[in-house]
Symmetry: C2
Subunit: 457 residues, 2 copies
Amino acid sequence: MTTPDLSALLDRDRANAELFDLLRLPSVSADPTRTADMAATAEFLRAKLAGLGFTARIDATAGHPVVYAERLNAPHKPTVLIYGHYDVQPEAPLEEWVTPPFEPTVRDGRIYARGSTDDKGQAYAHVKGVELLLSQGELPVNVKFLLEGEEEIGSPNLEPYLRDHADELNADVIVISDGSRFAPDVPTITYGVRGLSYVEIHVQGANRDLHSGSYGGAAPNPINALAEIITRLKDDQGRVTIPGFYDGIDELTDTERQMWADLPHDDASFAASIGVPALPGEAGYSTLERLWGRPTLDVNGIWGGYQGEGSKTVIAAKAGAKVSMRLVPGQDPERITGLISEYVPTLAPAGTTAVVHPHHGGRPFKFDLNSPYNLAANRALKRVFGREAVFARTGGSIPIVAAFNDLLHAPVLFVDLGLNEDAPHSPNESFAVSDYHNGILTSAYLLQELGAPTSAE
Amino acid sequence: MTTPDLSALLDRDRANAELFDLLRLPSVSADPTRTADMAATAEFLRAKLAGLGFTARIDATAGHPVVYAERLNAPHKPTVLIYGHYDVQPEAPLEEWVTPPFEPTVRDGRIYARGSTDDKGQAYAHVKGVELLLSQGELPVNVKFLLEGEEEIGSPNLEPYLRDHADELNADVIVISDGSRFAPDVPTITYGVRGLSYVEIHVQGANRDLHSGSYGGAAPNPINALAEIITRLKDDQGRVTIPGFYDGIDELTDTERQMWADLPHDDASFAASIGVPALPGEAGYSTLERLWGRPTLDVNGIWGGYQGEGSKTVIAAKAGAKVSMRLVPGQDPERITGLISEYVPTLAPAGTTAVVHPHHGGRPFKFDLNSPYNLAANRALKRVFGREAVFARTGGSIPIVAAFNDLLHAPVLFVDLGLNEDAPHSPNESFAVSDYHNGILTSAYLLQELGAPTSAE
């Protein structure tokens, strides 16, 4: 193709400054005290897109608002819907941040801030990619932006939104950048995501906290009971013990297992990257297979009794835990949530009762490795990275992918711009400055390639 | 004996008003922000005792101060040292209190307030008992008060205090009222207390919190690991699995087992009193044996990962728990703490490390059922309750009892004035108004009986 070198035209300082302004807004969707910040973040994005000549607006939902914008000036060309989310994970534990989560800071070529990679940085790269193309003329395709504010809490209101705006959101392909490349020098196209079932387990013992001296030895202890329940949810092979949990799983193909076995992965360095001496998990599967193609069960939070200074000799009345299960194609989140809800009460030790409260779920998803969109993405990535992309899956969940498929009937194309080292969801989340800039170029080239789907480089 | 009916002479309204003033002082020894309240509480007691003609003072320690007072006007009579503590448990969880913990309120004949029974109410009953006797003349024995402010945090500074003041504190018997009677109509003399080993277990996984999607299936989870460690600390018979834990235990005698079997105890109503369907514990022992004569292990608090609103899909870097073991005669707290500190690290699942941090301990203790002091106490209780006392043990720990024995070489006499229903250490701790008044009379009669140890009623 004959296009100017967009890389030379990118104003990197300005691109950084704009992203920093976006990152300063503490858009934590799970925090009920931050609704005003959520609204301010939506308005920031609406105004930016309006400034680029998009028809842009903020649509209210039952929860946090959706930013929708469109620029449809490419007749007879494909329509590309770019999805992203402007909400971020809670920043806790705050004390572990080297610099404040909402004061973006560059250290060693990385932008440190909550949301820098998940997903503000990756979503804004597309906004800047579009701006870069517009500096050269009209867009090569019709572009729609759908930026939601509830991805980190399970997108409870996006499905109804998609339902109500299905015609308006109609597109040939949906582009999502909300994940990690396989490695810094490895452009990656992700063709599958795991699903999620997230629940809370509440265990009740006595009707009040008890003195562990007066009652210890006879009173049921809900914390010990919760520990036993959690332990019994997995066997010594790392397999989940919930009856029916593995039923109907779409097993990994030999092709997939071979493709992943060929990837440049090394358990030792992976373990070293998170500072652990071992990588425990389900027996009989490689690390990549366990991360991408097998379901898991992890406790994400636990509480009970006295957590304060010093020592309190109490037997608590209740204890609780947040438990999530990552699911793979063939597992339905509602069915799995139902199974654990039935199973956990049967594990409650004598004298205690256990109940499961569902939080949210997300369907696992897998799509065609050889779609023209994947091929176009591969060409775009080659122009940025100088090499073919690898086809991976992600262990993470993007619950609304299935909704896109069901309601908009369009294929989803994942172009991951981040890295696992970005530490999304952790203190000191970051996004490499070079990845942000490459992401802007990837977005621009991708729209060009999608506008000329049959062209060759 | 020919003494006036002290019951008719007791000004109950004034006794209540004074105790309420004492209970309003938030003397939480574990709370570093309450040191001023601790000092104010000590001064309240010093001033009261000085007003009764005692030589009273406040002695500083490395922690919270000790209140010491003496009135030695009974030559050739025994010297009685009355021990109590003016510090109280933390009030958390505050939201579960029907009325504020430091605003004493009477409902249904009970005084609701933190410390009402443990131990301000029981200790102050002795102060008022002495006052009642003084209204009739000189005390029948020499009386010393030792009121400490660190019992709820393990009395870290009392042992040095006893060492430094051993001569001054010299006594024939040490009276302690800091426990529960067997039942409302059953006067109780306690001849043994359990010991305590209290530790924290800290488990470390990765070097940072991880996204459970990106890492779930391969990253070690310290919360799941902690649950497994806790579960493995007991077997399916409710026995503690720590190697050597039961070595050298002074087993219950047939006499004791028979004496307790004869007590009016009913498992069903005991279970109903705390709202549980079962009373799990060590197999092969009755409930009373498990509460008074057998060691236990209970988790008193646990934490890890995300405990906030909504759901956070994180694999935490670390998790922790507070664990206490109640000990019986024959078990040394330091030895037991050493055993669990060696054992827990060996239970850490692959990819995690576990360490034990000791908190505090207390030695178990048991003393002579037939001492003249027990017999005097039995006579005093009979004058108040009209029936013989029962001889029980308590599952609780009073760590400094052993220190009294070692350093002051005096026998300890437990005269319990409270009830388990008082819910010490729990929200809505209370003390029956009638128990407080009976406690004042019990204290007065006890001093009379100790002053005439050979007399018969």
